[in-house]
Amino acid sequence: MYLATRSAGPITDGERDAPPSAEKGGTDRSAVAALGLTSFFTDISTEMVTAVLPLYLVLHIGFDVADFGFFDGALAAATLVLLLAGGALADRWRRPKPVAFAGYAMSAGARLGLVVTSAPILWLFGDRIGKGLRVAPRDALIAHSADRASMASAFAVHRILDTAGAMLGPLLAFVVLWAVPGDFTLVFTISLIAAVVGLVVFWVGVPDARAEGAGSGPRLRLRDLEARGAVGRLSAAGALLGGATVSDGILYLVIWRTGDLDPSMFPLLFVGSALAYLVVAMPVGRLADRVGRVRLLVPAHIPLLGAYLVLALADSLTTPLILVVLMLHGWYFAMTDGIYAAAAAAITPAAARGTGIASVTFGVAVGRFCASAAFGFVWLRWGLDTALAVAIVGLVTAMIAARPLLRAAMDRDAR
């Protein structure tokens, strides 16, 4: 079998701190496909519920929406903490698969809870905690399954399937509600079925990393390794660049307010970005593998800068201009979304990958969270023009400041 061809011996002292370039055998396409399909079905499941949950809360539960927003925010913070925990656990147990599986199982359990008890709080808890837990070990599994020379391509395959699932989920939810109006339990049931399929695909299709040598040998901790500095600086650069990046939700709000857009078109903005993303994700992944994942991170923000400039300078946001903004935004996502994870995986020794990926993902997420809050504050306080100007200046500054931070990571990436 394929896996048997991989080196399973203990890592020698000499290579234990080297980037995992010594791995041979090419990419385990089957494992990457299974990981992608897992995310595809899990995202269908999640987004089906996310799309209808506000409607459900208002119609059936009489839930206070302000409370819902508060819980949502608090849980987003909890997700970030669990992201670090998931990465650390995967490294400590040297087995990312069970940790990621536990995360997926929690999300599936949350659907079951929603079907049986109709309690949205339970859903939020289970789903967000599960998501936080599984992200880093799952990305570590993708990295383990990929040949180092095609790391970013493997992540691109995974993220494409992930995004496709996120697009399909709401569509499926509305088809179900169209066929049987008002039957939210049916939506939750279909969501549960999709989550279970994701679990099965993951359990059956993804080999445990222990068999791949990543988990064997002496226990390695990132903080004891030479790679620590590069990973730390990459995380800092991610936070810096992320700190100049408003969330897609806010960007769509800017488009909606600036352009004369019908509110019913609002969900289509997401579809526009996602389509642009899907088209370029694979070529961008290949390009990243050729020129170096880390090296691509600063240029990745040029499309975003372009989108900001169009929004700031356009007198009136016509439909073609909206499409340009969405396209640039989709490209920006293609150049960062899987690339950060691929970059972190490429510069971290296999046994510490969970921690490395979690650290970089955490940095970017915290940065983006702060950016959205700051942008919203400036927008409300001093107006949209000021907010966009601040965002542009901030982004250019971050791009310049991130370069020296990325140098160490770039060296390891090229090794």
């Binding site: 299974a34 109006p181 059956v204 299709g205 509110p263 019913s264």
Partner: protein
């Protein structure tokens, strides 16, 4: 693990089968449920049809039913040529500033006097019989027979050869359309259409010269939770009209400049040159008067919302919270001449703009059940006398409109 992709493939196929099966089962269950509700509704309607279509049996057997019975009043031809009860003070020939000309955008004109599918005095409504007819236009004739038309309206109003039909765009967006149609024949040819919000209120003047409608453009939808925003259009059969918020307000009071100000629920006054409507900002809700000739609005100092002016123009029924009533809003009869007010005896929550059957009786719809899908509404009648009680006059119906024609 040799066959892992076979197992994965089998799982996906199984999930597709189970998922599709679950949807079809739910569809079956839903249509069976609707069918049984429809059967129950039709049985109940058949029972009602065997009774005389008079809500209150005439107390005096000698009195002819057509005079005292509600159904008789429903279909009795209006005196003095329609709604303006005291025709002496209301010149029926008054032409408002933006009155209807005969030319309409696509060559369709309102039905001529005495023509068309509705007779004067008939009650036009939206059917709330569960099943396929749910949400279609209906009418009830002088003999009490119920007619149904192949036209869907969430809310409708008809007068003087014109039908105003509001439709909802779907269940996920706070949007809809308002369509002005001729009642010439049962195809209800379209005169014009424009986008609106979620259907709320509709009115046409008895002379067919003016019409107005209100839709929710935010709130009532998941897109804008916590917001409430209405759009009210005053138009004519030939022009697509203007928004109430573009009327100039003849008042310096700061509340009329409020950023959260909303206009809704137009009710025309006799003569079709003025109308009452609601202005709300924050918790304050009041009735204002719009002059349609110069598009100005003046405050009236009447607290409340969703007015409905009586055919004579003397009274207006408004909705406002009242400590004597548990429901969030009570129906208050306000005398526009004396300013006297009287609480109407309806303890239930009327989420409707009431309609006047004649100068003594109002009509409104009330929900019968809490069904999420195809909830049942009934039309009730209430005398404006102090100790009257409401009676159900048309079961399984909503959006009452007494067809008038004063042309």
């Amino acid at each position: 693990m040799k066959h892992r992709w076979a197992i994965i493939g089998a799982t996906i196929v199984l999930a597709l089968l189970v998922g599709t099966g679950a949807v079809f089962l739910a569809m079956e269950r839903r249509s069976a449920e609707l069918a049984s509700r429809e059967v129950a509704a039709l049985e109940e309607l058949a029972m009602v049809a065997e009774l005389p279509m008079v809500a209150e049996p005439p107390a005096d057997a000698a009195a002819p039913a057509t005079e005292t019975g509600l159904q008789g009043r429903l279909t009795a031809p209006p005196s003095s040529g329609g709604a303006p009860g005291d025709g002496s003070t209301t010149p029926t020939t008054t032409t408002p500033a933006r009155a209807a000309s005969t030319a309409t955008p696509n060559g369709v004109s309102p039905a001529p006097v005495g023509g068309g599918v509705f007779d004067v005095g008939e009650l036009v409504f939206v059917s709330r019989i569960p099943g396929d007819d749910y949400g279609t236009l209906g009418a009830i004739g002088s003999d009490g027979t119920r007619r149904s038309y192949d036209l869907e309206c969430a809310r409708a109003y008809a007068a003087a050869g014109v039908l105003l039909c509001l439709e909802s765009a779907g269940m996920f967006v706070p949007a809809g359309t308002a369509t002005v149609r001729s009642v010439n024949d049962e195809t209800f040819p379209e005169i014009w259409q424009r986008p609106s919000g979620l259907p709320s209120r509709a009115r046409v003047t008895p002379d067919g010269s003016q019409l107005a409608f209100t839709g929710f453009v935010a709130g009532h939808s998941y897109l804008d939770i916590g917001e409430f925003s209405t759009e009210t259009i005053v138009a004519t059969p030939t022009t697509r009209g203007m928004r109430a918020e573009h009327f100039s307000v003849a008042s310096d009071e700061p509340r009329f400049g409020a950023i959260d100000g909303n206009w809704w629920g137009v009710s025309f006054e006799p003569g079709a040159t003025s109308a009452l409507l609601t202005y709300g900002t924050g918790p304050s809700i009041e009735i204002v008067r719009a002059d349609l000739r110069d598009a100005t609005i003046a405050p009236l100092g009447i607290e409340g919302g969703c007015p409905s002016v009586s055919p004579s123009g003397r009274y207006v029924v408004v909705k406002r919270p009242d400590p004597r009533i548990d429901a969030p809003l009570a129906l208050i009869l306000h005398d526009l001449e004396t300013g006297e007010e009287q609480l109407l005896n309806e303890p239930r929550f009327v989420d409707d703009q009431v309609e006047w059957l004649d100068d003594d009786t109002i009509l409104y719809a009330l929900p019968r059940d809490n069904e999420l899908i195809q909830p049942v509404f009934d039309i009730w009648a209430l005398d404006i006398g102090a100790d009257a009680t409401a009676t159900m006059v048309v079961p399984y119906a909503d959006s009452p409109a007494v067809y008038r024609d004063s042309r």
